[in-house]
Symmetry: C2
Subunit: 349 residues, 2 copies
Amino acid sequence: MVSDAESAPVSAKPPVTLREVAAAAGVSVATASKALNGQGRMTAETRERIRETARRLGFRPNSLAQSLLRKRSFTVGLLTNDTYGRFSLPLMAGVSDALVDKGVSVFLCNVEDDQRLGQLHVEAMLDKRVDGIVATGKRIDRHLPVDLSNLRIPVVYAFTQPDPGAVGLVSDDAGGARLAVEQFLRLGRRRIAHVSGPASFAVVHARAGAYRDVLTENGLPAAEPLLGAWSEGWGHDAVAKLFGKAGREGWPDAVFCGNDQIARGVIDALRERGISVPEDVGVIGFDNWEIVAEATRPPLTSIDMNLASLGREAGLALLSLVDGQPAAPGIRKLPCRLVVRQSCGSPPQ
Amino acid sequence: MVSDAESAPVSAKPPVTLREVAAAAGVSVATASKALNGQGRMTAETRERIRETARRLGFRPNSLAQSLLRKRSFTVGLLTNDTYGRFSLPLMAGVSDALVDKGVSVFLCNVEDDQRLGQLHVEAMLDKRVDGIVATGKRIDRHLPVDLSNLRIPVVYAFTQPDPGAVGLVSDDAGGARLAVEQFLRLGRRRIAHVSGPASFAVVHARAGAYRDVLTENGLPAAEPLLGAWSEGWGHDAVAKLFGKAGREGWPDAVFCGNDQIARGVIDALRERGISVPEDVGVIGFDNWEIVAEATRPPLTSIDMNLASLGREAGLALLSLVDGQPAAPGIRKLPCRLVVRQSCGSPPQ
DNA sequence: CCGCTTTGAGAAAACCTTTTCCCAAATGGT
DNA sequence: ACCATTTGGGAAAAGGTTTTCTCAAAGCGG
């Protein structure tokens, strides 16, 4: 049987305060504070004695008291509406990583697509005196269900539609698409098709536009992009459209897909038709969703949006805003990265 | 050109304080505080006047000052080492959802598998005086790279290995496996195979154990589970082992898979062999990872671990611990749920 | 030995809210 | 009219830290 003392509420003795350190070192709290912060003037010996005492007692300053005084809480809010998505998690981790080293902690605020929840979270943030807010979403071209426009604290938008005049960071989708198409060209592919998601997504147009641009810049014909859903199923169907017509010579020798799921569907459908990847047809996806990209056969070459970096940049941008550094408003696009696996073939020797 | 005044640091006027409300209403701060909190005694008219003033001025109490006084910060820390995983996100959202309604905010702490990062985050939490910590992971049978055992604040473990004597919440893997196998039995399947992940995972044994139990309870032979990787590739290979031998009558008529990726591999491999799902063979997965389960053909019946609920329960458990309610230490298992799609067939009429 | 500057350290205000205690006025009972 | 109680509201301390101001002692030039 465990004694009462042991099973009692976890709360042991309260944390040691600066006052106690000061008393133990035989100085005033003012002196103790200055000693620990490297401020004020005192003998090196006094300073060291206080520091040693603090160390011995395990003193850690109460962040709440500090925040109250400094008007700086060293916390920021992270708003997201992407609960299950694979986009927000790396992004969130990036923000958190960039900030933890600076002593800044991140409040996680999942607002779904619920106005009420958004309001609730934003008010909680403001009450807790966050120094700033990072707003992220699952779509670059949609707003979160909250109004952050008159907030008195800085806001940075990452991977979501920013308010006018605000700072926004997004991936450079057009640049990413260029990487893919240019890779195909470098590999000697010439009849490059594009299969993407619904026309209602801005990224679909950004990527399709770049696809067209690269091809025309190189004097090649750009087929009309095939738009559908973000699903494997649509990848299958698109293959039927592209490779259905008789006459092998009309077939594409490369397919640039709007995301990895479509690419997966395309590759599976091609295999079912006996068309081999990458020998007959090269395939490149988008998102570099590793768990999908690595499970396709062959493993999928894809465009990575560098979401963790995007998150880090967003965190740092917010921090400099908090520090009062003016930042140019507008949308900043961060480059994507080509991750080569085996679905697009090797360069001609 | 935007004027300097407009592009100046976002920080407008500071938030309105209780003192200002009191002054505007012509009372003392003490009275104002009591009016807003429903404490103390005063005329209904005074109370209402103060409330109205506060409303008009947009007063919101400074949470930092409240926390300092009440010794309760209304924040908790959420530790995770699952940055890219699909497990932690629903779990985290569940924790956050359960707590936001109670005015409690959640610090997101991504510790990867890095001791230093863990230490850093835990110290930041303690400095910020979190009321408690929820520790989550990507594996039920592994510890986070941090020591939370002597922390002076309550800790709840969710989907990760708890410290001895602590409160832990995990999914009931054995129960989930029972659901799957019993569903097969209900559908008239009798030769049920089990393909799962690496033997180094505790859940593999929990699920395999339940698989065996259900079959022997029903007087049926339990084949030795096939253990491999958590991948589609292993699903493929397992089908080769199960259906490679000649003699159709030795083949299973159902495969219970340790996760959805294996199940996906199994289904694809069966289709390639011309074995139809669910007519010839039923398949059930585990995790109910919707994006995979819905993309398989046919869509995959799977076991859902109810991670959002698990997160909610963890949040509430932590809260009651924070409130001083003693909780029975030990591991509590929360039930799984069978999500029926089309890969396991319909019940015999 | 005297006035001036430097040095070392403490007192107190400030941050914002809550809560306890206190006091004056009003009310009620006789 | 007097005492006891209730009512309405304020003063002040508390919570933990930082920072400004103050002040005594010591050092120093003449």
